[in-house]
């Protein structure tokens, strides 16, 4: 079975279970579907039954212009060489998506990560609010586009202040003995102590 017909098979599965808003073939082996938020669970279930048994990744993309978050589920099949991305947009204010733990139990940690970085709530996941990667984060979720890492860094981490003449050469280093000494040491290090 070649991959073209695989892609067609995927088409059939997804079309029979839910409404596709937008289809975006990425390559011969990858295809993305944008679906409604409410169809995600059904589509994932039917894909899992058809052999896409591994949830490769779950993440989110922030679209502040549309005021939406886009959740991305990437599925992997161990028998057919096709990656499938299922995308669904959710509201940016009070973002929430039902957990897919009943379908893919491994999604537990992906959902916790998404919650930590984007602030998306996953009802159905018992402990999505627990911290996973960031220890004691004290600002808005960092991967939202309205978060300014530069400002955060400047505010939180003291940075080194350089004098104005920093880039100018040190007068002492220009003396010949000093330079010779440095060269000698460099040679010594390179050759292993032999002069």
């Amino acid at each position: 079975m070649n991959s073209i017909s695989n892609l067609e098979a995927v088409d059939n599965i997804i079309n029979s279970t839910g409404k596709v808003i937008k289809k975006e073939p990425i390559s011969d082996f990858q295809v993305a579907y944008e679906v409604n938020k409410s169809d995600v669970h059904q589509i994932l279930t039917s894909l899992k039954l058809e052999g896409w048994k591994q949830l490769s990744y779950l993440s989110a993309v922030d679209w502040p212009e549309e005021n939406k978050f886009e959740l991305v589920y990437i599925l992997l099949n161990w028998d057919k060489p096709v990656y499938i991305q299922i995308r669904a947009k959710i509201d940016r204010e009070n973002p929430s998506m039902n957990s897919i733990i009943p379908i893919f139990p491994g999604a537990k940690y992906y959902e916790r990560e998404a919650h930590e970085f984007f602030g998306i709530a996953f009802p159905g996941n018992p402990d999505y609010k627990k911290q996973l990667i960031m220890e004691q984060w004290d600002d808005i979720p960092p991967l939202r586009k309205d978060f300014d890492p530069r400002a955060y860094s400047d505010r939180k981490y003291p940075s080194r202040e350089y004098p104005d003449n920093f880039s100018k050469k040190d007068k002492e280093n220009e003396s010949l003995e000093k330079q010779a000494k440095r060269r000698k040491r460099a040679r010594k290090l390179r050759t292993g102590g032999e002069e």
């Binding site: 627990k130 220890e135 600002d139 080194r160 390179r190």
Partner: protein, 192 residues
């Protein structure tokens, strides 16, 4: 001509003897520096060439060690995220004294290419004292070795005394650490 002037006999001076012993100890310490490689970032890739036959760190009496208790140098190689820094400080406090810190690369100096990143700190010597910086992104093995020789000279000239500084300015360091890390104790499911 024999001087008739009364000269005071040299007294047993404990401090002086301690200082002499300390200098003897310094000779051993600078010739046998054991590394704890805290490979936090990309600069760690420069360590294998500086240890193996091309540059052979062992001829300076240096070598890798497994745990902080045994090591003399805490070798910070590369950028430090908050999460790593917390563990780095814990590790640093576990080391036996005298202990030295060598930081590789530009990230521990001023943040390097991660200067505007939200989880990466910019300046290591705010949190623990650093004895030698080796600049570069990444520094090549020669500069790494040069840095170690600098540290040895520092030990000889008694300028590499970061561990003393840490004791002296303990409150200042603790305050900085607390500002950026919050409570150092972590309590979640992975640490129980």
């Amino acid at each position: 001509m024999i001087s008739t002037k009364y000269t005071e006999k040299k007294k047993f001076n404990k401090q002086e003897i301690d200082r002499k012993w300390w200098e003897v100890g310094d000779y051993f310490r600078r010739n046998s520096l054991w590394l704890l490689m805290y490979c936090t970032g990309c600069c760690a890739i420069e360590l294998p060439p500086s240890m193996t036959s091309a540059y052979d760190m062992e001829r300076l009496g240096m070598g890798p060690m497994a745990t902080p208790r045994q090591a003399d140098i805490l070798l910070v190689s590369g950028y430090l995220s908050l999460k790593t820094l917390r563990r780095l400080i814990y590790t640093y406090e576990q080391m036996s004294e005298p202990r030295y810190v060598v930081a590789l690369g530009s990230c521990p100096i001023n943040g390097g290419i991660y200067h505007d990143s939200h989880p990466v700190i910019n300046q290591l010597d705010q949190y623990i004292p650093v004895d030698t910086y080796v600049a570069g992104c990444m520094p090549n093995p020669e500069s790494v070795l040069n840095g170690f020789v600098d540290l040895m000279e520092g030990i000889k000239n008694k300028t590499a005394n970061g561990w003393k500084k840490y004791h002296k300015n303990y409150d200042w360091y603790k305050k900085n650490q607390f500002d950026v890390l919050g409570e150092v104790v972590i309590d979640d499911e992975f640490h129980q």
